[in-house]
């Protein structure tokens, strides 16, 4: 046959490259780089979360107020009317002599706080820089916390990433049922704010007749029981200790009843506070409070050292497990909210794969048959290029471990229809030249020349649309523009360069008396 030329060598190389690199994806091997299926194909939960950063700002303001109180009292400065009002803390000094001292204290100890003073009344707000920092911290902390929780939950490869300035993208593949999905969401949302609080035994018998306002006056707070919502506890609002002193939390089982419970350990400081408190409070009750619900409030029988505490409650093993995970991974500084959620069950994902694969197969067969019928061997050559193109799309996506989504599949199907376009243009040009009496060699060379600018310009315009779509698209739409773009670029290599090389390779074999076989040209009546 003909001689090898550089075009056909490049094409063969690309073909082999395409086949080799798409093998891991096609046989779904353990090793090698593969295409990951999008959540719409394999099933899973996709959520875009936002963080209620205003809550983080509020608590920042609260802690500022607490430190002001502490500092002023420490210095024996008399003040009045310390209060938090939406985004500001204000107080009033009573002694004019304190003003300079206070000014200095505030300036030294409260970095990032903007101080407004009129006479002896002070108003303090967070500087915009500090506010931004606080917000950013809250979001970053939420990303870390949620990631920790999902990693501990045990499903394969969850993704938790910051998206844009203030959103969090959560993707959890392999969620099987709606119940499991709800469990995951509950785990994400759990504030996991653990507190140990003492029961106000003096007034405890009045708890059912007391209002929240009244409780506040005594420095108390009323909280409900987690299982029996009618049951209430009157607790001192300042906790004995909180979850920040926790080092570990594990699920265990009660010996007699075999009911699940949560064991947790406190750090050194926490253990000491806990031991001292229990020593002083024998005979009184202590409540374990999680996210403002009382889980258990046992009587303290003796001093508890060692810093090991148990939470009992009517948990299912799953609940106990999830609470332990949430406690271990720390609490959320600010609550999260759903902005967008897309959840696809595994059966729907499978249906999507089947449907789009059928469309791909049918579309492919139709196009391939059509090309052979219409163009003869020239059609076979175009089909070879098309097959190489498909392998190349798979190979390139595998190499970059790109994600294949349902719209991405649609993009591949569309590529099948559009990639042969280049060959249609070229073949039409070659036929035209053959009809006008050119030799085969000249018809092929000239045909490729004439067709090139049109194909190039047409592909570039489609590529412009695809790239813009990639830049502005979100999620699955990105998948569509990705496959279309790769398809177009690959078609330049396969449909233009590759087929050209094949023609050149086959050139000596092409019989000018059998143009019907080679190019699908009808024999003319009364040919020259």
């Amino acid at each position: 046959m003909g001689t090898l030329n550089y075009r056909v060598v490049i094409f063969l190389f690309a073909f082999i490259f395409g086949v080799v690199f798409s093998i891991p994806t096609l046989i779904q091997s353990e090793e090698g780089k593969k295409i990951t299926l999008g959540l719409d194909l394999q099933g899973g939960l996709h959520m875009l979360l936002s963080v209620k950063t205003e809550v983080a700002l509020e608590s920042k303001l609260k802690s500022t107020a607490t430190s002001i109180k502490y500092v002023l009292e420490d210095e024996d400065i008399v003040f009045d009317d310390l209060k938090i009002d939406s985004d500001r803390v204000s107080f009033e000094l009573l002694d004019e002599d304190d003003v300079t001292k206070v000014d200095k204290l505030l300036k030294d100890d409260f970095k990032g706080i903007v101080i407004n003073k009129s006479g002896m009344s002070y108003t303090m707000t967070l500087s915009s820089k500090l506010a931004e920092e606080t917000k950013k911290n809250a979001i970053d902390q939420a990303v870390d916390t949620i990631r920790n929780r999902l990693n501990m939950f045990g499903l394969a490869e969850p993704t938790v990433a910051k998206q844009g300035a203030d959103k969090i993208l959560v993707e959890v593949p392999g969620v099987k049922t709606a119940e499991e999905e709800q469990r995951i969401r509950a785990l994400i949302a759990k504030a996991a704010h653990l507190q140990m609080m003492a029961v106000d035994e003096e007034r405890a018998n009045r708890v059912y007749s007391m209002s929240g306002e009244e409780a506040k006056q005594y420095g108390d707070i009323i909280l409900n029981d987690v299982t029996n919502k009618d049951k209430r506890y009157l607790l001192y609002s300042v906790p004995i200790l909180d979850g920040s002193m926790l080092t570990d939390a594990k699920v265990g089982y009660e010996r007699k009843t075999n009911r699940p419970l949560i064991n947790f350990s406190l750090d050194g400081q926490g253990s000491k506070i806990f031991a001292d408190f229990t020593d002083k409070s024998v005979g009184k009750r202590m409540a374990v409070v999680l996210d403002n619900e009382v889980y258990t409030a046992p009587n303290i029988v003796q001093r508890i050292g060692g810093g090991h505490v148990q939470i009992t409650g009517n948990f299912t093993p799953q609940e106990a497990n999830d609470i332990a995970i949430a406690l271990r991974s720390g609490s959320l500084l600010a609550p999260v909210q759903v902005e967008e959620k897309r959840s696809v069950g595994p059966s729907l994902g499978k249906d999507n794969i089947v449907a789009s694969s059928i469309a791909l197969a049918v579309g492919f067969i139709l196009v391939v048959l059509f090309m052979v019928l219409y163009y003869g061997v020239a059609g076979v050559i175009a089909n070879t290029a098309l097959i190489a193109n498909l392998f190349l799309i798979l190979a390139i996506m595998s190499m970059f471990e790109a994600t294949l989504t349902l719209p991405g599949m649609a993009g591949i199907v569309l590529t099948v229809g559009m990639a042969v376009d280049a060959n249609v243009i070229i073949n039409e040009r070659i036929r035209e030249l053959l009809h006008s009496g050119s030799s085969i060699t000249k018809a092929i060379e000239q045909g490729y020349n004439n067709a090139f600018t049109a194909i190039w310009d047409a592909n570039v315009t489609t590529l412009i649309a695809a790239v813009v779509l990639f830049a502005y698209g979100t999620g699955p739409i990105k998948g569509f523009s990705l496959t279309i773009s790769i398809g177009i670029l690959a078609s330049m290599l396969t449909a233009i360069l590759g087929t050209h090389g094949i023609y050149q390779y086959l050139l000596p074999k092409i019989d000018k008396n059998r143009l019907g076989f080679w190019f699908g040209i009808k024999k003319e009546k009364g040919a020259k």
């Binding site: 049922t177 709606a178 709800q182 969401r185 509950a186 994400i188 909210q337 759903v338 902005e339 967008e340 959620k341 897309r342 959840s343 069950g345 059966s347 729907l348 249906d351 449907a355 789009s356 059928i358 469309a359 049918v362 139709l366 196009v367 059509f370 090309m371 019928l373 219409y374 163009y375 349902l406 719209p407 649609a410 199907v413 569309l414 099948v416 229809g417 559009m418 376009d421 249609v424 243009i425 039409e428 036929r431 035209e432 004439n450 310009d457 047409a458 315009t461 489609t462 412009i464 649309a465 813009v468 779509l469 502005y472 698209g473 979100t474 739409i477 569509f480 523009s481 279309i484 699908g520």
Partner: protein, 324 residues
Amino acid sequence: MEVFKHNQAIIGFMKSAKKVGAFSAFMIIASLALLMTKGLNYGIDFAGGTIVQVQYEGKAPIDKVRDVLSKNKTYSTASVTFFGSDSEIAIRTKSTSKDVDVDLSDEVRNLLNGTGSFKIRGVDMVGPAVGDELRTQGLMAMLLSIIGILAYISFRFEWRFALASVMALIHDVTIALGALALFQIDVNLPILAAILTILGYSLNDTVIVFDRIREGIRSIKTTNLDEIIDESVTRTLSRTTLTSLTTFFVVLTLYLFGGEALKGFSFTLLVGVVVGTYSSIFVASPILMWLNFSVTGFREQEAKKAKREKEKEKMRAMYEQGSM
């Protein structure tokens, strides 16, 4: 096989340009009227809302479901329709919820308890803020790609070619949008992708015809644009038809076999392929003529360009000689 004879007589497309123009104008006005009266039916991606997809074992008790939901506050305005088969339903509502741990699908699951054995196969919820953002992004994407394409074609051809192709493009997109309004198809992200694909596809077709016209201007003796256009369009007719056919095949298979999720997407593309083919044959070239495109002017410009190139080369040669 050959459908179009190589010695195909040149078809007088330009003679019927006025009639075709009237037809196109009618289609555009009808589309605009549809868009203004019926309007686009924005799906949850752009308008915000929730879709819960429920599959029953056996036929879905759709009346029972409607009945149960109508008594619930969140779902009283929800629409319940069969989805793809009669065992599957889609519940659509404008409501969304920001709660992470208990959301609208959990509520549906509780409400539907007792209507039969079912499972929730998919849930899509887009909050209003995200919907707005997606819509702005979609419009931006559309504008940017039109600008990009306009710039590219102006650079490769001439501004009249660019303008004519963009006008043909607007023609195609308007009619495709009109079809979406007529059939009240949910306009979601995949539809946006389809519209942008139409942009690319329709241009693809137009560019290939224009490329032939550009070639015709250089090689055909006459200065009569009508004749050049007629000949060029006739020459590209077989390619335009064949490519449209192959693309049409695959889009049709997507529509028929691609499943419910791709229905709207492939429908939009079907309309786009047909309209795009029509416009590249019948619409784009007449616009070129109406824009007072001058063959002699283009030739002069090309000659000037060639002359400039030559001069540059001469200068370069002289410069190189001088520096040697």
